[in-house]
Amino acid sequence: MPHPHDAQAHDATPLAVDRRRFVGYVIGGATLVAAADLVLDTPAASAEVPTLPQPAELYDLNDMLTDAARPTANLITVTINEDGTAGFELPRAEVGQGITTSTAMLIAEELDLPVDRVRVTLAPARPELLFNQLTGGSNTTIATYTPIRVAAAVARAALLDAAAIVLGDTVAGLVAKGGVITARDGSSVTYGDLAVKAAGSVGSRAVEVELKSEAEFSVIGTPTNRVDALAAVTGQKEFTTDLAVPDALPTMVCRAPTLNGTPVSVRNQAQVEAMPGVTHVAQVSTGVAVRAATFGQCIDAVRALDVVWKAGPVAGESDATILRKVRAAQLPMPKLPDTPLAQTVSGDFTFWFRSNSPMDTNSAIADVRPDGATIWAGLKSPIVAQQRIAEKLGMSQDKVKVNVVTAGGSFGRRLFFDGALEAAEISQEMGAPVKLMWHRADDARVGRTHPLGTCRVQATVSGTNVLAFNQSLTCVETDFRHGLGEIITAAAADLPAGVGNLGFAETIFALTQEVPYDFGAVTQTLVETDDRFNTGSMRNIYSPDVRVASELVVDRLAAKMKMDPYQFRRKFQRNERLLTVLDTVAQAGEWGRSMPAGTAQGIAIHKEYKGVSACLVEIDTRPATTGRQIRDAVTGPRVTRVTFAIDVGLAINPRGLEAQMQGGINDGIALALTSSLHLRDGHFLEASWDNYFYTRQWNTPPDVRVIVVPSEEKVPGGAGEAGVAATFAAVACAYARATGTMPTQFPINHDQLSFEPKSFVPPVPQSPDNGLELTS
């Protein structure tokens, strides 16, 4: 492929002339291929940051991810096909967050093509992209907004040039609309007809384009339905386990009765190999793998295996012992004054382990041969996956082809590649292609968990002022070995003063956390301990826990000053956009309306990823509600109404943004009220969706209103995680006000085990056989 920088070297035009003028490329191809480089965006944010305000206000995690993408990004290309469609390979993972739709919208906007004629697929691992193929931190739209539009604008310019020749008019006389270019004399030609004519010859040529102004937008900002919805509602949308890769037979793993225990030997290998459908049984590093004609026969084989195990690193441990270790690692909090003139309000909260298991369990297809390997999986960091898999297989990285498949949810989990790595090892060991699927029990018990932690808060009040606000989070270590770590290492030198020399976790903490109130001297610290668990963040890293602890204490401060919680938040607010979302929910959600005893409102705010949000909930904790009997379920208090306002910056697709907020609301409710993992005797107990109580229909609020506040910001913000923190905090505050008791652990029901744990040996439950008696 010709190197675009050669073309650029001959071109004296500066990369960015003004905010809307950029240079892209037409590169050689059978049909028109237009390209852009991420280097074209604005210069990196200043690294000079004064000690106040907090780092995250001036330079946040997203700035770091975007800056990391800048110098390393190679080309992203928009191709015009002969059928008149535009094709684009997105170097990110679609996991349900809607980025294929928003990306199609950006291309449709600049190309003047209907959204349904833009085909966005997922790029396989492209090692040359280095840091620019990581889907995380709600960063996709922020980092790709300009380059994708530039590539599309270059394509449009090339189409217009070609059309001018075909139609015998000047470019100025042409009008492009809906994939058709019309000349002044009424003659016209379609993009499809021009696809070959507009193609670049050998080499590449630089093209300067001007992006549309906001006033010209007709697609961006218009509520648009998902491009993959039709496939999804007809069962045609393909996830990893739906792919038909030749000979990749169903494969499952029998796992140890303690977390991360390892196999020593198999006592009955021959007997299991002889079971119906079974083709292979192989001991691997994580357990004993079985391959069979159907997954049902894999389950039978896993259950039949008799394995000698070596206990895992947390054997014998429980929630209580881990919490004790975390508490032992806590830093002492500064001693604040507590006198009649300066009183200290404090809170100490525990957040239990939570599972980020999505619906689509860890799965991967691997076809490993002596001379190379091919992998298919839902991967948010495919380049790191490719490196680690190559290492494991003893191959060079270029021998491992890693395909990125759309995934059924992520919530942080698909930043890791546990399934892909395991599938590769199994395929190599068996000498056959495998379609590995984790059983739900494995996905919940062995899959990654959001770390257990404590969050302590102290605030000093004097009269009507808050003089100091200290917050200290201590938790089990979060694993960042999925590429974010490498980004931090690489970006360290460019980070704001005082941040660059911290460890990974502390860097991310400093870049994401802030106390969005005028609270005098603010400090926030993070301590991590204990690296024995399989961890990862769940739909946001530290914010949900930090915000809950803050907002509960904010309500206490308001009470101390005898102020209404909403008015208190207004008084100490220094950010205009936050004030707007706060006022919006207070008004739309009827803050302060009279409610019966046992029910209450709660209100909270959050700021992250260039966006601000506020949430007002109503909760019902009366016995008639908490006492609802539903089999194998947690009912408990019910959030009955949610009003959520978000200013995300420029909202590319308001309908998608609303959907993300609705999802985040259900996550926030689950974190507050129902969902956690219980560690007992070295393993997590939860093995089913009727053990791990994510929000269900009987928990979800019947009345949910999401308001996308018109933004003054001209650039998009992140959306994937923004809904969780404010909701979680508002539910906690509402619960405290309804019951008169501030909760100190989350979820509030953690102490009560609401299910009968399933067996550990065998590690997966057998499927029932009474389904025909339960039709409805």
């Binding site: 999804a232 159907t294 026969q297 059983h439 959907a659 999802g663 969706w689 056989d769 409805s776």
Partner: protein, 164 residues
């Protein structure tokens, strides 16, 4: 190996497989019908929800040997065939699928075939009782959606019911 015969999406099929293999795997792994999804294998998550003789059921909990040759299985792929052609919508789909599209319910989509199949069965049941779908009916749906699309599911069921 025993021969298993039943009807799926209007077509009679015969598969060679042991009696105790659950129908979900027969559909997915042997017949390549992948609309019904695996989410638990123990009749909890409802991602595999399909219809047997017009009623909702979960193929992960049915050994294939328990089906008779006249049992009619409908998966999401065959759902449009459950209504007469003139009842299908703009995309040629079942009214509930059309409502799902219009309301843009789907996020990752993994749970959605099961959600739609459960919704159709719920509405059929409620209609047979001569009444409208209530909030209390919606609260009984056990299908889990980890993306949290519950709000739009509730709206789409009301919409779909009015079209059915």
């Amino acid at each position: 190996m025993p021969e298993q015969t039943f009807i799926v999406n209007g077509e009679r099929v015969t598969v060679d497989v042991e009696d105790d293999v659950r129908l979900l795997w027969v559909l997915r792994d042997l017949l390549g019908i992948t609309g019904p999804k695996y989410g638990c294998g123990i009749n909890v998550c409802k991602a595999c929800t399909s219809h047997v003789n017009g009623k909702a059921f979960n193929p992960c909990a049915v050994p294939v040997g328990k089906l008779s040759s006249d049992d009619e299985i409908t998966t999401i792929e065959g759902l449009p065939g459950e209504v007469a052609e003139q009842q299908r919508g703009a995309n040629g789909l079942h009214p509930m699928q059309e409502a799902w599209l219009e309301r843009d319910v789907v996020q990752c989509g993994y749970c959605q075939p099961g959600q739609i199949m459960a919704a159709v069965a719920l509405v059929n049941r409620v209609k047979a009782e001569g009444r409208q779908v209530t909030d209390a009916d919606l609260d009984t749906i056990r299908n889990i959606c980890r993306c949290g699309t519950y709000t739009r599911i509730r709206e789409a069921i009301a919409d779909g019911a009015s079209r059915m």
